[in-house]
Amino acid sequence: MLSGDQGSKNPFMVWRVNVRDQSFRREPIPSSWERLGGRGLLARILMDEVPGDCDPLGRENKLIFAPGLLVGHMLSSCDRISVGAKSPLTRGVKESNAGGRTGLQITHLGIKALILEDQPEKSGWWLLHLSTQGVRFEAADDLVGLGVYETANRLLARYGDKVAIALIGPGGERLYSAAGIQNLDKDRVPSRINARGGLGAVMGSKGLKAIVIDARDGSKPPIADPGAFRQAQKEYTKAVIEHPQSELYRDYGTASMTRTTQAFSALPTRNFSSGQFEGAEQISGEFMRQQMLNRGGDCEPAHACMAGCTIRSSNVYGGPDGKMVVSPLEYETIGLMGSNLGIDSLDTIAQLNWMVNDIGLDSIEIGAALGVAAEAGLMEFGDGKRAMELVNEIYKDSETGRFLGNGAASTGRALGVERVPVVKGQAISAYDPRAIKGTGVTYITSPQGADHTAGLTIRAKVDHLEPKGQARLSAKAQVNMAGYDTLGACIFAGYGFAAAPQTIAALLNARYGWDVDKSILKILGKETLDLERQFNQMAGFTKADDCLPEWMLREPIQPINAVFDVPEEELETMFDD
């Protein structure tokens, strides 16, 4: 029987919703889906049900929510929700995962995967209400055009404080390719975003403004061997807490990365024209922490986005008066909306972050788009006020706002800019690939496009400028990340698992009654990547798409004067055993 527990109160099933006839079915889990979750399950479902050459905003694309295999028990940092579809931005396979409440609550309803399919015939906006009773469509025209924060407030008032919510902002309603899906964090702030690749636009194309998940009558997923699970959980949690990296993330958050990328000439500066920024200190994690301690009030240097997380790498950023501006303020935003725009004020970056959150957009993609716009002269690098004006254009859905809202590549086309930092149409993250070559390999070979979470290499003990060996390093990281994404584990939980690798198999076996061994992470990761590559092939991708933009290959990054020169032969064999 599926999920390993006979007589379970909570047998997992596939929940299938058709947005055209507003029908809902609970279906048994196909056997080839049973041993997958999160990103791996998304890839499997896309391969089984979505034609690779479909229109991402059309009837045949499906928007799928799949919790990872370990989600449901508040295992530290392991309750993430993966959302996937064919991406309107990359036009390939897309998985984007987020923390917050959604993953946990969706498993408490016994949902293996929530599949949203087809497209409404008539105009009009809806929200889905999920509970143990099933799925209900409710009219949502009164929420249209509202920002994410206002929408979340109204939905919380209507459905109560305990619900989880996944919603889109005006960006998703307008089908912008940079639109994401926002989820409530454990404190009901709607800023845990499934950011990359335009999944918010897919949700918008299905006429859905929000998904409200009320799991109060639900229950935790059944565990085949509770004693063994508890034991493995203890070991894993101890490994996470004791790892020195956890303390670093708790105290400084991901912003601790700024000084590191600055040291390696990898901090994107002024549209990736330099790898070091003269204002790096003012946007560093150390500076931010001191500022938050000084300001007090709502400021929290450590914050958990998911209940039960012991790492607490998130934060609450407060302004000069100590009042919350945005939560979280993360490194990627600090890079792409800070140094990449020549902006050295965390207050400005935080404000920009709030605005893109409210429209419901990926801050990496919009930061890159603004960098391209600055290159074209629409703003001066360093002009924070002007950057806000341009984001306001996106709010207003003006002509300028539209190409910005569709991301960096769209902005480059509209303005005739060559220096556009994208791979497979998706903006490069805050690690310059010329200086961190292993991450460059990830950007070009990941089926997800330029995605650092698919396989970041910057903290590996290697010379990041040495072209040899980077391909293998990236392959190892990509397989592991795909594995963690399938488990529903936050990347930062990875240190705990790396320090106590036996706990992955132990947790899975205890939960599901399986008999897997320590190779399971790699097995899951490889299967996921294989499925994703197959989908991309069907979507028309070839090896020619695995490359950095031409201008970036030509132009060395300063001051380290490095080019991306990983040998082609190494790329070809990087995933070979």
Partner: protein, 63 residues
């Protein structure tokens, strides 16, 4: 909070000597050591005017 520190070391000193002088508690396996923007090992000899960065490292496939 320390932003930047100037350190005097005897000539032919290595990264390891620097870590010892600074009384860094983290073991070298948890550290990424960079000299003038490039990752080096603990036995790397340092020279006058070198810019050294000490950063947290990861291992085990989660970088």
């Amino acid at each position: 909070m320390i932003n930047r520190l100037e350190v005097d070391l005897p000539s032919q000193s290595t990264m390891e000597d620097l870590l010892r002088q600074l009384q860094i508690e983290l073991s070298p396996e948890h550290l990424l050591l960079a000299r003038n923007g490039r990752v080096v090992d603990v036995d790397q000899t340092l020279q006058e005017g070198d810019l050294v960065n000490l950063m947290p490292a990861m291992s085990g496939g989660t970088f």
